[in-house]
């Protein structure tokens, strides 16, 4: 399918260039994109619209169905507000913990040699691959009421945090790892020969080069955590005001036939995620400007 299409497009573009009249001021505006570019851009925009933009826009529109006053009341009902603050707070803590430990794991995977390294490297992706409800089940078995470790985190906020930690672990590891692999080891040796101790080399040479990747991994982990449903639903027990996360709250609002309220809370999550991604983008620009 792809090849004849691509070939056809390429041919058209080529013919167009060959038979194109000498450039005129007016013609230039119409022919800003070549055939291939226009087709690619068109498909990308259409796809993105159908899958992401239109559904999201609908949620935002729906949340405003009953006016701004209703929106505000829906978001600030005690149970919704508690769910939102818990979700955002826990996600922030979890993202920060994974920032530190994810970087450490990436470091160990890149710089150290130990038996079973390839297996550990594969295991990191497991939270991505596993259905999150299975993750919840596993965590409940290990840290639930019948915990073989005697550690019962079920129905507690710690349990929520644990589930989020599990699900978001890969993000920082997988963003930092490639940067660390690419990092020029000569830089570290140069720093050493200039008198820098290993700690000084880490702080002044390695860390600044990792920070953009660390931050982008953290932002991704954060946005993933605020939207988490499956892994928390079992271990948290969904106790309103205590352990119910925003996604579960949305679900229960829909079950109670309050779709506008559900849309309002969704919109808040959407805005928080968007802000986090915007900050990430700014940080990356800041990083690449100096790269």
């Amino acid at each position: 399918m792809g090849t004849p299409d691509a070939y056809g497009v390429a041919m058209t573009a080529e013919t167009a260039t060959r038979t194109a009249p000498p450039p005129r001021a007016g013609a230039r505006r119409r022919r800003r994109f070549s055939g291939g570019t226009a087709l690619g851009l068109g498909s990308a925009v259409l796809y993105l619209s159908l899958i992401v933009l239109i559904p999201l826009a609908l949620v935002v529109v729906r949340s405003a169905d009953e006016g701004p006053g209703y929106f505000w009341r829906a978001v600030t009902t005690p149970d919704a507000w508690a769910a939102l603050t818990l979700t955002i707070g826990a996600s922030a803590v979890v993202a920060l913990v994974n920032l530190v430990l994810g970087t450490l794991i990436a470091w160990v995977l890149v710089r150290d040699r130990f038996p079973g390294k390839a297996i550990v490297d594969t295991l990191i992706d497991l939270p991505f691959a596993l259905p999150t409800i299975v993750a919840g089940l596993v965590l409940l078995a290990l840290y639930g009421p019948e915990s073989p470790l005697g550690l019962n985190l079920a129905y507690s906020r710690a349990g929520v945090g644990l589930a989020l930690l599990f699900v978001t672990l890969p993000f920082v590891v997988r963003t930092v790892q490639p940067v660390l692999i690419e990092l020029d080891r000569d830089m570290e040796q140069a720093a050493a020969s200039l008198g820098a101790s290993p700690f000084q080399t880490f702080r002044r040479i390695i860390l600044p080069n990792l920070v953009p990747a660390m931050l982008s991994g953290t932002a991704l982990a954060f946005t993933r955590a605020i939207s988490e449903f499956g892994s928390t639903v079992l271990i948290s027990g969904n106790l309103p005001f205590k352990t119910q996360v925003a996604a579960v709250n949305i679900f229960s609002q829909i079950e109670g036939d309050n779709t506008t309220g559900a849309a309002a809370i969704s919109t808040v999550l959407l805005v928080v995620a968007l802000v986090a991604l915007l900050v990430l983008d700014l940080l990356q620009r800041w990083g690449s400007r100096r790269g």
Partner: protein, 321 residues
């Protein structure tokens, strides 16, 4: 002696890279470690810098045993082939790094860095990042960075290896001039004999992890210790069972003492030089003559001429040839 390397052995796994290497580097000299790739020259340099540890043997820097010293404590400047620029820092901060580590006062750092940037002609680039510099500029920055800490010894690992031919030649001449200004004991690694001969005042030829010869550039070129060194330092051709430099071969129409007959097979004009390809008996050889000589002799393919090594030419007898 600024550097004394004694009986150093080093293996990577089971592969020996340095075998009983002993080298002395005089204070204030500019020494080239010359040899083919994989000959151990970079490893030797890294052993001197403390970036590798020798299995056996000792390294003394300015009379102090440095064999077990960490690179931080050797006060050695090291310049890498691929610059090893701190890419998240400006040129200024790169050069200032060693001084900041040494906690020098701010105004002293500022003065010293600007002095060095002027020395390497990068004073306009202080605020740029390494990614905004050309290869040659990056390497000059790396050099300034290494010089900033006033090292006892400056070590350069194929410093011009990653640069294109034109920049290479410029930087070579410039390094020589810089050394004449700064006088810091300098050792650089190269596989380019022309570079070694042009820049260094002492050449150490290394092959297969062992020192083949040490001497001045003209010494190693004119009096090679063995056929390997002779071959490595310049073009050679074989005539009458000896290795001879092609420009040391005399061609004449009439026989002369010590000459033998040869057939001209091909003549290649390379500007001022003419490369005359010959068949001596059943062996191929070649001679490098000037255009004037070629024209005076009226050389043409198929001619029978007489050839001999010019009197006073250095030649090495090849055993078993």
């Amino acid at each position: 002696m600024a550097i004394e390397v004694r009986d150093v052995n080093k293996s990577f796994g089971t592969t020996p890279v340095l075998r009983d290497v002993s080298v002395d580097v005089a204070s204030g000299s500019l020494t080239a470690l010359l040899g083919p790739s994989g000959g151990g020259k970079s490893t030797l340099l890294r052993v001197i810098a403390g970036l590798e540890h020798p299995d056996t043997g000792t390294v003394r820097i300015s009379g102090v045993d440095a064999t077990r010293l960490a690179p931080q404590r050797r006060n050695v400047g090291f310049v890498f082939q691929h610059y090893a620029a701190f890419k998240h820092m400006t040129v200024f901060r790169n050069v200032a790094f060693g001084l900041e580590i040494r906690k020098r006062p701010k105004d002293e750092i500022r003065r010293r860095v600007m002095e060095l940037l002027e020395l390497v002609h990068l004073e306009q680039m202080a605020g740029r990042y390494p990614s905004q510099l050309s290869g040659g500029q990056r390497q000059r920055m790396a050099l300034a960075r290494a010089l900033a800490v006033e090292p006892q010894v400056l070590l350069l690992d194929e410093p011009f290896g990653a640069l294109d031919a034109q920049v290479r030649k410029e930087l070579r001449t410039w390094l020589r001039r810089l050394h004449d200004e700064v006088h810091v004991t300098t050792v650089f690694v190269t596989h380019d004999q022309e570079e070694a001969i042009e820049v260094a005042d002492t050449v150490v030829v290394l092959a297969d992890g062992a020192v083949e010869q040490v001497g001045s550039p003209s010494d190693v070129y004119d009096n090679p210790a063995n056929p390997f060194v002779m071959r490595f330092l310049g073009p050679v051709t074989e005539i009458g069972g000896s290795l001879v430099r092609p420009h040391d071969i005399e061609i004449s129409a009439e026989p002369r003492p010590g000459s033998g007959e040869a057939t001209v097979t091909r003549i290649v004009r390379l500007g001022f030089e003419v490369r005359v390809e010959l068949l001596v008996g059943d062996r191929e050889a070649w001679a490098q003559v000037t255009r004037g000589t070629a024209e005076r002799l009226g050389l043409a393919p198929g001619d029978i001429v007489n050839v001999r090594p010019s009197p006073g030419a250095r030649s090495l007898a090849l055993t078993g040839a």
